[in-house]
Chain length 180, copies 2
């Protein structure tokens, strides 16, 4: 008498292409989202620091701020300093996350804070860029301050674009964390 | 000789608490996200139309645009008109979605377009609000134009806040659609 063993078929759910990046914590399994984040943060830092230096460097050479009579440029200067500090902090945090996770705050809190601050810095940057366009009208054409303001405007807009991309990435990360 | 039929065990995935809001199409199962969307769109429409009227109404009375000498106010006026049209369209689309789904375009395309346009309108509104603050400096204190500009500024900022909330909601909807 032949004994037939029962055949057990397991119908497993199709693995999501995004699952591995949440479930595992290793570096090798999720390079893309981390590398994209670091790359965008580096770009934002580069652009915002260039924007700060293009306005700030002439002032340190001559010992006075050439844009003291232009509140629009001062606003842009302050906002790009804030954006530089924020981008530098996020870059530092990103590197810390890769080396040993959860250095400063929990992942959940960090995702929320990153998303809110990304949004805020993005809105500040587009606001300061718009205001700088108006400030340009007051400055005499072809002067060194005018050139510096043009560079600042372009760089702060580029930093804005980079921060918007960071916002999309951090929003996506936050959404995944809420849903799962 | 007894024949043993093979036992088939199906291991189904645990249903997600969010699945019903994506899978089903009924009104009763997902009132919150639709109602929130409609409420926020109505607010954005109300604020942006108030902003447009506060600048535009005096001009229609006297037959001339009182803010023709102020490019900042003209920029704000154009942006709030765009925001009004966009909010009206989204409100119309939201009501169509409730009554009979998928009137104009597919849900996937609609979610992408809504998210991108929400972001764009939000950035335009904060940009125009910032520029209007500068425009206020040029206008004489206490005049009717000054009061109209103040109302426009407040209302366009309020519309910006409503649009930001819409952006969060449409980003969440888009994220859910991408992940599932």
């Amino acid at each position: 008498m032949a004994s037939v063993s029962p055949v057990v078929q397991l119908q497993l759910p199709t693995p999501s292409p995004f699952t591995h990046s949440v479930a595992s914590t290793g570096w090798s399994t999720r390079p893309s989202i981390h590398l994209s984040n670091l790359f965008l943060r580096s770009l934002a830092l580069l652009f915002s620091i260039t924007s700060v230096l293009s306005l700030g460097a002439p002032s340190t050479q001559h010992g006075e701020t050439p844009f003291s009579g232009y509140p629009e440029l001062r606003y842009c200067f302050i906002v790009t300093i804030l954006a530089s500090l924020y981008s530098a902090f996020q870059l530092f945090k990103g590197i810390c996350d890769i080396s040993h996770r959860g250095l400063l705050i929990s992942d959940m809190t960090s995702d929320y804070i990153s998303f809110v601050l990304d949004q805020l810095v993005g809105y500040l940057l587009i606001s300061s860029s718009s205001v700088t366009v108006l400030g340009l009208e007051k400055i005499e054409l072809g002067t060194s301050l005018w050139k510096a303001a043009i560079v600042t405007l372009c760089m702060s807009f580029a930093a804005f674009v980079a921060i918007v991309a960071c916002t999309l990435l951090s929003g996506y990360k936050l959404c995944k964390r809420i849903i799962w």
